[in-house]
């Protein structure tokens, strides 16, 4: 079945046995002796045309009539009526076709051929097949015939058309037979049931060329096929080698089709999972940990859709049932057009790394708990020693001083005697010594942990510490706290008090400030301590400095209580430290001092 898509050089069956196939664009002629000779040629010619979806135009001339032509063709083509009805075939008398008002008009006739040809192609026929007869021409009126036939040749050249001109041998003069032969590409003669054929040199040459081209094409196809077979075999060998290599590497590896369906896993994969190749192909996800499945699948689908390399961590089940952590990498292999041809995946076991990470986290938490415990123990110890010094040492020293002062008074009453006065000198000196001692141990006790903090509360302790700070550093320190002492746990009080002390220490060391303002506030169940100075201001680098143990300690203290601490540089000047912790919170790790 021929279609319109075929190139113009495609061969068309003529239906004429002796001619066989002819290319589009052929303009050939036929000589006949009898009416039957004419029908022997044209009936198969048009039958072939109709069978191959060509638009057929048959212009009949004496001795044939339109009716005779239809009858003859009807015997060969069963559905001729339908063909005529659908317009696949038109049969015209020469008078209709060649004459205009009884006069020849070659220009109009040529125009007619051209229009029929163009219409046929426009309507979707494979091409155009026509036959005309010039038997009606009075052969003494021949002038211009030669040019006319040349025009017809030009009309079908390079087009999808075949035109067959028929000539009656009986009426045409011998000289004109040569002329007719010259202007057609080929001549077929039918005389009394026998065929004869004459070919023009051009046609012979064209046929030879086609044969040559066909042979060349076949050779090329053969060579190309050989190349492809060789390349395919080489590729297969290479793939076999790669698979062998992949099978021997100690890493699990696999490949996936562009749509993500697994199509290969290596031996190591099978060894680790204990699955057969078929089991692996059927359901590779069975080795993934159920907890990882949805998260990792989601991530893979996203990367696959985007055609991007994929990386993930997941647990895969070993043959013995134990899950171990793996780092998965899957990368796309692109073809020359940039489409994904394949995905290749490998994975590395990271169980040890995961284990180490967990241990690091654990040890970090333990360290934090230990630090908190140590800090709380240290605080308890400070409190105990501070009390011991204050209560035991301090009170006894107080008793001693009372005794000494009383002795002084008694001696003063015994005025006069030099011996007594000398004793008085000694006694006053001893009292002074006891005085100094008392002041020293009160200072030590307060340094360890001021009694104000435990006896009066955080607000009073901040005021007290602020005053001591002024006495020591000369930097003024204004403290504001709620009118009534807020009820806070010992942990919260201690933490905020120590943070306040740390702030003051930092201010003396780094801030170059002349004034400090501190405020303790209670709001919505949160206790906030804000300490601001008018110094040079803390820098981002100082805040970020991991080696700054003081800041780290403050952060730890607030974090332990479920709070937070912020170090800021004031837009004007100075540093603002804001610590914020929940008012009531007891952590299980730290025991509150009694």
């Amino acid at each position: 079945m021929m279609t319109t898509e075929l190139p113009t050089s495609a061969l068309r069956p003529t239906g004429i046995s002796v001619v066989g196939d002819l290319p589009w664009g052929t303009h050939f002629c036929h000589f006949y002796e009898t009416k039957q000779d004419l029908l022997d040629t044209l009936v198969p010619f048009f039958k072939a045309g109709l069978e191959h979806n060509e638009f057929c135009l048959w212009v009949v001339s004496q001795p044939l009539t339109v009716e005779e032509a239809k009858r003859a063709l009807g015997r060969a083509v069963a559905d001729l009526d339908r063909q005529l009805q659908e317009g696949n075939l038109e049969i015209h008398s020469h008078a209709e076709w060649y004459l205009q008002d009884g006069r020849r008009d070659p220009r109009r006739t040529l125009q007619g051929w051209r229009e029929k040809h163009d219409q046929a192609l426009a309507k979707g026929y494979a091409g155009f097949r026509a036959s005309g007869d010039t038997a009606w021409i009075q052969h003494d009126h021949w002038p211009g015939f030669h040019e006319y036939e040349k025009e017809v040749s030009a009309l079908v050249a390079d087009q999808r058309g075949i035109i067959l001109c028929t000539y009656p041998l009986t009426t045409i003069p011998a000289a004109q037979i040569f002329d007719v032969t010259r202007v057609h590409q080929m001549v077929v003669a039918r005389r009394h049931g026998r065929w004869e054929m004459l070919e023009t040199p051009e046609l012979k040459q064209a046929k030879a060329e086609i044969r040559r081209l066909n042979e060349e094409l076949e050779q090329k196809v053969e060579a190309r096929t050989r190349e492809l077979v060789t390349a395919y075999e080489a590729l297969k060998q290479a793939e076999d080698r790669i698979r062998l290599v992949i099978d021997t590497i100690p890493t699990m590896a696999w490949s996936l089709r562009p749509d993500g369906v697994l199509d290969f896993v290596n031996q190591r994969w099978l060894d680790y999972t204990g699955l057969s190749f078929a089991e692996a192909m059927a359901d590779p996800k069975r080795i993934m940990h159920p907890e990882d499945l949805s998260k990792t699948t989601q991530k893979w689908l996203l990367n696959m859709a985007a055609g991007e390399p994929h990386e993930d961590e997941m647990r895969l089940r070993r043959a013995d049932g134990e899950y171990r952590w793996f780092l998965i990498r899957t990368v796309p292999l692109l073809d020359q057009q940039g489409n994904i041809a394949k995905w290749y995946g490998t994975c590395t076991e990271i169980e040890d790394r995961k284990d180490a990470e967990q241990k690091l986290r654990d040890s970090g938490e333990q360290l934090r708990a230990l630090t908190a415990r140590l800090e709380s123990l240290r605080e308890e110890e400070r409190m105990r020693i501070s009390r011991e010094i204050h209560d035991e040492l301090g009170q006894r020293l107080t008793g001693l001083r009372m005794d000494l002062l009383r002795a002084e008074r008694k001696l003063e009453e015994l005025q006069g005697s030099p011996a007594v006065n000398s004793l008085l000198d000694t006694l006053v000196s001893a009292t002074e010594l006891a005085d100094g001692l008392t002041a020293a141990i009160q200072e030590i006790a307060a340094d360890l942990r001021p009694g104000v903090l435990d006896k009066l509360g955080l607000g009073a302790a901040l005021h007290y510490e602020g005053r001591r700070f002024l006495e020591r550093s000369g930097i003024s320190c204004e403290v504001r706290s709620p009118e009534t002492e807020p009820s806070l746990s010992a942990e919260v009080s201690t933490a905020l008090f120590r943070i306040f002390q740390e702030c003051l220490t930092n201010i003396v060391r780094h801030a170059r400030a002349s004034r400090v303002e501190a405020a303790l506030k209670l709001e919505d169940g949160w206790v906030t301590l804000r300490v601001q100075d008018n110094g040079r201001g803390i820098t981002q680098a100082e805040v970020a400095n991991a080696e700054s143990l003081g800041l780290l300690g403050m952060k730890e203290r607030t974090a332990l209580l479920g709070g937070e601490i912020v170090f800021q540089r004031d837009p004007q000047a100075g540093t603002i430290v804001t610590a914020r912790v929940p008012q009531t919170r007891t952590t299980p790790q730290t025991k509150a001092p009694p």
């Binding site: 204050h390 209560d391 301090g394 009170q395 006894r396 020293l397 107080t398 008793g399 001693l400 001083r401 009372m402 005794d403 002062l405 009383r406 002084e408 008074r409 003063e412 006069g416 030099p418 006065n421 008085l424 000198d425 006053v428 000196s429 009292t431 002074e432 005085d435 008392t438 002041a439 009160q442 307060a446 001021p450 009694g451 104000v452 006896k455 009066l456 009073a460 302790a461 005021h463 007290y464 005053r467």
Partner: protein, 210 residues
Amino acid sequence: VIRVLIIDDHEIVRRGLKEIFDDEFSELETGEAQDSRAALELITTQDWHIVLLDINLPGRNGLELLSEIKRLRPRTPVLMVSAYPEEEFAIRSLKLGASAYLNKGRASDELLAAVKKVLSGGRYVTASLAEKLAEALGGDFQATPHDALSSRELQVLGMIAIGKTIKEVAADLSLSEKTVSTYRARISKKMGLASNVEIARYALQHGLVD
């Protein structure tokens, strides 16, 4: 007869305080308690002219006990005697209704001055605290500073006020210069007077010198 209740958990302190009262008052009855429970027992069962109370007590601390005493016996003056020098304690005590706040170490003359002032219905704090407390509490705590001086210290004040040097005072009293310097320092501290000029002006104003 003056009835004094001493509440302190240290025996040596209770004895010291008691001796100071013994030396001063001929007719004296003292009660002693070493914790809040015993103290409340004595407070509710007996009448006292004055209560001496330590802040640092086992069990409920002295400040809580102070509130309780003032609730039970609002008219009984309570004199806080503490080893804590911090003014925060003084402020809290006075807010809770104490009549005086004394540093234990300074007892003796100051204690007696305070007791006399409290018994006459006033409130007492040391001169150094008076100004700060006025700021914090807004009341009048002005004591007569020289009440807290011993007779020997008063004597030295008079001599300094008339322009005598430490050396001259030492010679007059047959004491070492070091002892006189100590007296001089105690006077300054008890009265809040820094210079000799201030001491002289005070002595003149209060008729302590001729």
